[in-house]
């Protein structure tokens, strides 16, 4: 046992030990430490009594407050829904035109639509709904399936080429890959389709080529895209005469569309997003288009 010394600075005694020069003072534990220790234990014990806390073999103590996170969150969700019902009820009941005419209600639609669209739709259609290669722009006022609120609502509900029984079905055949048209026919029709949206052309295609292409188009494509190439919202065939392109309007992209075919897939949202929210999304998307230049 070492000799107990007194630390000149603090006045406390040491324990009398030394380890390679390190000594320890035998300072008493300050009362504050005990106080905090006891307080934290008292707090914990209280909490254990109030809350579910200790396991007992095949069950556990439920706590006096009977708290249950799952019931809590259910109650929160319920309360939130009721709070919103002031305006969501009107969304449910009123028709699209009436809602669109009501600025107050449209404010709720815009506020709600932002995150709803951002979390579910933006991955494909972009944060600003301007689309991208393979995913349609939703604010350009050109619609594959029609731009009425009912048509848009239906697209969102059932999707396109989705697994939903009511899904819209669209199929651009693979004319080249499946051997329905030969190479010349395809290059001709590609040149022709390209010229539809580029009146006057880029000067590369010959008149013969365009004429041949027009024939191929009338024979094969007009069924869906219409004799004038303006498309059809019944089968989701795009208008080929405008400058809106789902997959790109340069000749190479058009060639790919014709050769490989296309089959866009828009998921169904019926089981994932409530009817109210789908209605809000419809209104939101149409509103974005309306406010875009």
């Amino acid at each position: 046992m070492g000799v107990i010394e007194r630390d000149p600075y603090t006045g406390h005694g040491t324990t009398g030990h030394e380890w390679n020069g390190v000594k320890e003072l035998n300072t008493a534990v300050p009362w504050l430490v005990w106080a905090f220790l006891i307080a934290s234990v008292v707090f914990s014990v209280t909490w254990w009594i109030l809350m579910p806390a200790w396991p007992l073999g095949t069950t556990y103590t439920k706590g006096l407050l009977g708290d249950d996170v799952r019931k809590d969150v259910a109650a929160h969700l319920q309360a939130a829904q009721e709070e919103r019902s002031v305006w969501t009820q009107r969304i449910d009941k009123e028709d699209f035109a009436a809602i669109q005419a009501d600025p107050a209600l449209m404010k709720d639609v815009r506020e709600t639509g932002h995150a709803l669209f951002g979390d579910n739709c933006a991955a494909c259609h972009g944060l600003k709904a301007t689309g991208g290669p393979g995913y349609p722009d939703l604010i350009d006022k050109k619609w594959l399936w029609g731009g009425t609120p009912d048509a848009v609502f239906e697209t969102i509900r059932a999707g396109v080429n989705s697994e939903h029984p009511d899904s819209r079905v669209s199929q651009m055949p693979a004319w080249g890959k499946d051997g329905m048209l030969d190479h010349t026919a395809i290059t001709d029709v590609v040149a022709y389709v390209h010229s539809l949206s580029h009146p006057g052309g880029d000067g590369k295609e010959s008149a013969d080529e365009l004429a041949a292409g027009q024939k191929v188009f009338a024979d094969n494509c007009a069924a869906c895209h219409g004799a004038d190439g303006k498309g059809s919202t019944d089968v989701g065939a795009p208008d080929l005469t405008d400058d809106f392109w789902l997959y790109g309007g340069d000749e190479a992209s058009i060639y790919d569309s014709v050769y490989d075919g296309r089959q866009g897939h828009m998921p169904t949202w019926e089981s994932r997003i409530s009817e109210t929210d789908r209605k809000i999304l419809t209104l939101y998307v149409l509103d974005l288009g309306r406010s875009s230049p």
Binding site: T10, E18, N20, S44, W48, P52, H114
Partner: protein, 551 residues
């Protein structure tokens, strides 16, 4: 290295190396169609390197018997160097992934350079590579000094150090080639896990044997912490890594646990990896180097006792605070919160005991950057534990969990506390072990200190901001009572913070590089006979005089 071992030890070392090489061959052959084959080759290489080293020095003269009158410091020196190398590598990777979160295409074409594979390299490299080697080196130093006894043999320290680093290398190279168990901080696969158990048992036995030779009647606080670190990490490691490999020729294994039980086991492990690896062991360092450098007695022996047992007992309960509001039953969450609250008290006792030790030495803190590193470490330890207990409160955690706030907390702890105490300890140790009057450049120690402090602050403030912003954006409701922001909105808001964090990390990394350079240059200057601070000499073994007649 080899010259420090006796002939018998060399023979055993040779045997071990050959066995390791053989294991490597077996794995390489059994797993030739599997990533484990690559690791087999790596293990073979390690075994061969060991064999080569030993054979090369095999006929060197045996160490003189006088060695028994001095401490065995060579493994400590090597441990410090390895630790600094890991620090540089893992912090560089950390900063790289930090930049990737701001500019995701800052990578190479290969799969290996994507965030998901590099991140565990950073965490493993820094915690186990940098932290682990620092722990091994300082524990070797402290256990000998506070026992006034030399380590019992020359082989097991080398085995622990080399074996442990083999584990670390297997871990990080594994992630690069796609080997991982996905369990955070326990990612290495089954064969690496088994190897670590072997190394760890050796480490524990070595520790006990050294303590058994001690000349001081009482075991010093630092050693309590190191013992807790070694023992509890062993327990955690073994249980959390229980897994069934699909075959002995495959790196892939499936955890014995699944779902909610697995989550609880994982965070029982994960939290206590923090507690017993990043806290208990490092408190061992703090409790020796701080009083030593300040030349002050520990403030209160009694507070040491309460702090130690409080930490050891309470910590184990709190892992469930990583699983608040999840599918983990609520009763476990309640235990997690309450024990996290109680845990704050012993944690602060430990921090306060260190800071009160500085009473009467504050002028030294002002003048001496090395002591300042240690002091700042104790302060950040207090901060991180306070923040931790705060984050463990369920409503707070509902905001902070899943966000960068956790990352801020982590780095307040790891940069401010773990790294600072290691640097303080190394600046104290290096001149002594290499027998130099002081570090090569005290000015550079200052530079390192300020870079580290600045880096830590920038990092932590950036992540506090981003974490809280993120957490708030995810739960902000607009007037209509619906969510105001989409996930991607919050992602866009993070960008400036991610740049700031990467910049802060860069400052910290530069500081580390300055430190490494300073240590390197110190090693290269001409040794003087006396180090800065003479240790008490080792006391001879009473039963076995060092120099026996006729020897």
């Amino acid at each position: 290295m080899i010259s420090t071992m006796t002939i018998t030890e060399r023979q055993i070392a040779l045997l071990i190396s050959v066995l390791v090489a053989l294991c490597g061959i077996v794995l390489a052959a059994a797993g030739r169609h599997d990533p484990i084959g690559t690791h087999g080759l790596l293990i073979l290489l390690a075994g061969l390197a060991g064999t080569f080293f030993i054979l090369r020095g095999y006929y060197d003269p045996e160490p003189a018997p006088e060695r028994l009158t001095s401490y065995f410091d060579d493994p400590i020196k090597v441990g410090i160097v390895i630790s600094m190398i890991w620090a540089l590598v893992a912090m560089s990777v950390g900063d790289w992934v930090a930049w990737q979160l701001a500019y995701p295409d800052l990578r190479f074409d290969g799969a290996w350079s994507s965030f998901g594979r590099l991140r565990p390299i950073h965490t493993t490299g820094i915690i186990f590579g940098f932290g682990g080697n620092a722990l091994i080196a300082t524990s070797f130093h402290i256990m000998q000094r506070t026992s006034r006894a030399r380590m019992p043999d020359q082989l097991s320290p080398w085995f622990v150090l080399a074996g442990y680093n083999l584990f670390c290398v297997l871990a990080v190279t594994g992630y690069l080639i796609g080997i991982t168990q996905s369990k955070e901080y326990a990612e290495p696969e089954w064969y690496a896990d088994i190897w670590l158990v072997i190394v760890w048992v050796t480490y524990f036995v070595l520790y006990l044997r050294t303590l058994a030779r001690r000349k001081e009647p009482h075991i010093y606080v630092s050693n309590w912490y190191f013992l807790a670190f070694i023992l509890v990490v062993a327990m955690l490691h073994i249980v959390n890594n229980l897994a069934l490999p699909i075959s002995l020729g495959s790196s892939k294994s499936y955890s014995l646990f699944s779902g909610v039980q697995d989550a609880m086991v994982q965070w029982w492990y994960g939290h206590n990896a923090v507690a017993f690896f990043l806290t208990a062991g490092f408190l061992g360092m703090l409790y020796y180097y701080l009083p030593k450098r300040a030349a002050r007695p520990i403030y209160s022996y009694r507070m040491s006792i309460i702090g130690f047992w409080g930490i050891t007992f309470f910590y184990i309960w709190v892992g469930s605070h990583h699983l608040h509001y999840t599918a983990l039953p609520q009763w476990v969450q309640t235990l997690g919160v309450t024990f996290s609250m109680m845990l704050l008290i012993p944690s602060w006792i430990a921090a306060a005991n260190a800071l009160l030790t500085l009473n009467g030495a504050w002028h030294k803190v002002r003048d001496d950057a090395t002591l300042r590193f240690m002091t700042v470490a104790a302060v950040f330890y207090g901060l991180a534990t306070f923040e931790g207990s705060f984050l463990a409160i369920r409503p707070v955690n509902s905001l902070s969990h899943y966000t960068d706030w956790t990352v801020a907390h982590v780095h307040a702890g790891t940069l401010g506390w773990n790294s600072m105490i290691v640097f303080g300890a190394f600046y104290y140790l290096v001149p002594q072990l290499w027998k130099r009057p002081r570090m090569y450049s005290p000015a550079l120690v200052e530079v390192h200190f300020w870079l580290a402090i600045a880096g830590t602050f920038v990092y932590v403030f950036a992540m506090w901001n981003s974490g809280i912003t993120q957490g708030l954006m995810w739960r902000t409701y607009n007037d209509s009572g619906t969510l105001a922001y989409s996930f991607v909105d919050s992602l866009i808001a993070m960008h400036p913070y991610y740049i700031a964090r990467a910049f802060g990390g860069l400052l910290f990394l530069i500081g580390t590089a300055v430190g490494a350079y300073n240590i390197w240059m110190t090693m290269r200057t001409v040794p003087t006979v006396i180090g800065t601070q003479a240790d008490r000499p080792v006391m001879p073994e009473p039963s076995r005089p060092i120099l026996q007649a006729g020897e």
